[in-house]
């Protein structure tokens, strides 16, 4: 086993934004598919170093919001400023280059590959040796491979998945797959990590493990996290600030205690006659 990694070494690359400064600023974004309005005029920001939760009933536009942030959808209106740079449309692989990584609501791992290869694939963008060196294998390509393997092993240690390193992920139970997916996202060394329902379908113990990993990622690595989650207990305990969406509109935004007592939120969750 590797020695516990030094937290100072692992902090995300410095981008001139102090802890607590605005990392991501979404301004007046609207997204629609034909006549269906998924998101209507939503503004929200994510501060560097915080855990930000996005909650709301089914179909509220939470996942669409994440898809807008990481470039999978291009909003019809509004602007997105990430790390001080404004952008309108971009490809998802460019978002990765800027430091945004994410996990999925339904696990989206590479089923035929081992845990190790899945996490190594998360580092593809950081590996530079071209096909000529890859063909020869020995020399620079191998050195690069080992350098990245060391980083990946740190993540494997961190997530306590050493025993499944060589197992094809298709054969793993759901809870572990979720953990491997988190590992793959961490391998990208993101500045902003988007988690789409990291605890969906887990039992209490697995939820506790996952919560601990999320807090550790946030505190040890200094990664900013935006997450969607339905388990209110988890959301209220983990997050620094919560934004609530309903029918594509923002209905509340603030610290957990404030949001919990907001009448609009209670109405949206309990339902009121319209």
């Amino acid at each position: 086993m590797n020695p516990r990694p030094d937290p100072n070494e692992l902090t995300a690359p410095d981008d001139g934004i102090a802890r607590g400064g605005v990392l991501l600023d979404v301004k007046n974004v609207s997204l629609s598919f034909g006549g269906v309005k998924a998101i209507t005029d939503i503004s929200l920001n994510v501060l560097k170093g915080e855990i930000r939760a996005i909650i709301g009933p089914n179909g509220a536009g939470k996942t669409s919001m994440l898809n807008v942030i990481n470039g999978f959808y291009t909003p019809q209106e509004g602007t997105i400023i990430f790390r001080g740079k404004e952008r309108r449309s971009m490809k998802p692989h460019q978002a990765v280059g800027q430091g945004i990584a994410r996990t999925f609501q339904n696990v989206a791992l590479f089923k035929g590959m081992s845990t190790l290869d899945n996490i190594m694939a998360g580092r593809s963008v950081r590996m530079k040796r071209n096909i000529g060196w890859q063909m020869l294998w020995h020399g620079p390509a191998l050195r690069e491979e080992i350098e990245h393997r060391e980083k990946v092993e740190e993540i494997i240690d961190f997530l306590e998945i050493q025993h499944i390193r060589r197992t094809p992920v298709g054969k793993l139970p759901y809870g572990l797959q979720k953990r491997v997916e988190l590992g793959r996202a961490l391998a990208m060394e993101p500045t902003l990590l988007l988690l789409d329902e990291p605890m969906a379908g887990m039992n209490l113990e697995e939820k506790e493990d996952m919560s601990r990993f999320i807090i550790d990622v946030n505190q040890q690595r200094g990664t900013t996290i935006a997450l969607i989650e339905h388990d209110m207990g988890v959301v209220m305990d983990l997050s620094d600030r919560v934004v609530v969406l309903d029918y594509g509109k923002k209905i509340a935004d603030g610290p957990p205690d404030e949001v919990k007592n907001n009448q609009n939120v209670i109405d949206a969750y309990l339902g009121v006659p319209h």
Partner: protein
């Protein structure tokens, strides 16, 4: 039994990334290479070279090329035969325009022609997947074979419409053409196949191989971990068509000696696809196992019943061959989609655990 992983500890990542983490695998490969380089050449007859050894190697190489595309990157192609044709015709034109060019250089360059054509016909893969992509590559198959027939410049305006391989020397030994000996051709093909297999293993186990497999397993997730889908897919088409083109050049120059356009028609594409499927998609070893089976099967059918006194005429051999291959394809698709390579992996696993059941 022979396989024991006990006591073989890895103390560095370099050792863990070695080609043969288990020492016995390296020994086994060494034995196979000794057979291939030393024992076969001194024991094989002219017939064995021409009917078994050389075609097995060339078909393995073609299947390896297809496997990179279909087995690793997940892009189905039915145009392999035509891409082999591009390699063969490119090599023929290079040799006729520059007669003094070294044959190794000519073959290596001809791969680039088929790689370029492969990338061109791979462009639809950016939009379509699966069966629809297969149909797009089928278009390449028909178009290219038509081009081979109609564009007389390609076969130097021969009256027969066929390409004839001239005598070509390499270091004073004739390796291609009517004067070449089977043994010289065998060694030439063996060296090329070994070199390309080595490169292919390295590419598929490193960063690029992982990117291909990621695209195969879930393309949306691949894009969201930062993989550029367009570049990755086109690179798969490039590398795959390069290898297939080399196989095509060897096919004509080192084995058949002459070729007409219809040699590269769809039966050849299917034959290579069958080898890749029976051998195992997503495996390097599988191509060799599949090629051995497909090439050896007609030889076995024609010789084994004869040895027991049952007469089998050549038409019967052909029919039996087609029927058995068809049955094998269906059986493999149902029972073991990962083909012969997976069978070997299971046997190896048993050897390692023996005498314990699991």
């Amino acid at each position: 039994m022979f396989y024991r992983t006990a006591g073989q500890f890895k103390t560095s990542y370099e050792a863990d990334h070695a080609l043969f983490p288990v020492r016995q695998d390296a020994i086994l490969l060494g034995v196979i290479l000794i057979f291939a380089f030393v024992i076969f050449p001194f024991t094989a007859s002219e017939f064995a070279f021409r009917a078994l050894l050389i075609p097995v190697l060339i078909y393995s190489l073609a299947a390896l090329g297809l496997n990179i595309l279909t087995g690793y990157a997940g892009q189905l192609s039915l145009g392999t035969g035509a891409f082999m044709g591009v390699g063969a015709y490119a090599c023929y034109k290079l040799v006729s325009i520059f007669p003094e060019m070294n044959i190794v250089v000519a073959i290596a360059l001809s791969g680039f022609f088929s790689a370029a054509i492969g990338v061109l016909f791979g462009l639809p893969s950016l939009r379509i997947k699966g069966f629809y992509l297969a149909i797009a590559t089928l278009a390449a198959q028909f178009f290219l074979v038509w081009l081979f027939q109609k564009w007389a410049w390609l076969y130097n305006y021969n009256a027969s419409g066929a390409i004839q391989v001239p005598n070509i020397d390499l270091f004073g030994i004739t390796v291609a053409g009517p004067r070449a000996t089977a043994m010289a051709q065998y060694y030439f093909v063996l060296c090329v196949v070994c070199a390309i297999t080595f490169f292919a293993i390295n590419i598929t186990r490193g960063r690029i191989g992982r990117m291909w497999k990621a695209v195969r397993d879930m393309d949306i997730a691949a894009e969201l971990v930062g993989i550029n889908l367009m570049r990755t897919k086109l690179m798969a088409f490039f590398v795959s068509s390069y290898v297939v083109g080399i196989a095509g050049a060897l096919f004509v120059f080192l084995w058949r000696g002459a070729a007409e356009a219809n040699l590269f028609d769809i039966p050849l594409s299917f034959r290579v696809l069958f080898i890749a499927i029976i051998g195992g998609l997503g495996s390097i070893l599988g191509n060799f196992l599949g090629a051995i089976l497909i090439v050896a099967l007609p030889v076995i059918i024609s010789s084994v019943p004869g040895a027991f006194g049952i007469p089998v005429d050549s038409a019967m051999v052909e029919h039996l061959n087609i029927m058995i291959i068809g049955a094998l394809i269906i059986a493999f698709l149902i029972i073991e989609p990962h083909g012969l390579a997976r069978f070997w992996a299971m046997i190896r696993e048993k050897f390692i655990l023996w005498p314990f059941p699991h």
